[in-house]
Symmetry: C2
């Protein structure tokens, strides 16, 4: 399922136009991102937690040439599924 299909489903379920459904969805993702930008994890009970994970610098490798490369420290968004979410897929 891609974003377009998701928006179409939400449009039906929420009785909104597709434009409104998309605007609503984007508002939610932006709100989550804003919180993460402020380094504040977003905890959704029963679904999961979004947090920014800091990754240390390390030595990598160019797979094409085999040459070693220094990789800078970086940050990425992590999603940790809530307990309830794990159970759904392990019953």
């Amino acid at each position: 399922m891609n974003k377009k299909q998701l928006i179409a489903k939400l449009s039906g379920s929420l009785n909104l136009s597709k434009a409104d459904a998309e605007r609503t969805f984007d508002t939610i993702t932006n709100t989550i991102l804003d919180s993460l930008k402020g380094d504040d994890p977003v905890k959704i009970a029963g679904f999961g937690t979004y947090k920014v994970a800091k990754r240390k610098a390390r030595v990598g490798r160019n797979p094409r040439t085999g040459e070693q490369i220094q990789i800078a420290a970086s940050q990425k968004v992590k999603f940790l599924p809530a307990k309830a979410l794990k159970e759904v897929f392990n019953k």
Copy 2:
């Protein structure tokens, strides 16, 4: 930020009652979950991809006792941030 605070923010941004904001949000998470239950990854352009990762059974260890333990195969929801999302946190 927890779910309650997120709902409050959305209520303001979307001009909805808190009850409606929560209903909207839950509809979205449920829609995503339903797709995942059907083993269909959900790809949100510019945000990320949710997919179900299957993990094989393996031998683990109880860190407290050092005792070896057989770990059953399981599944968990993975979120892979989109390129745009990574850039936000690495500029």
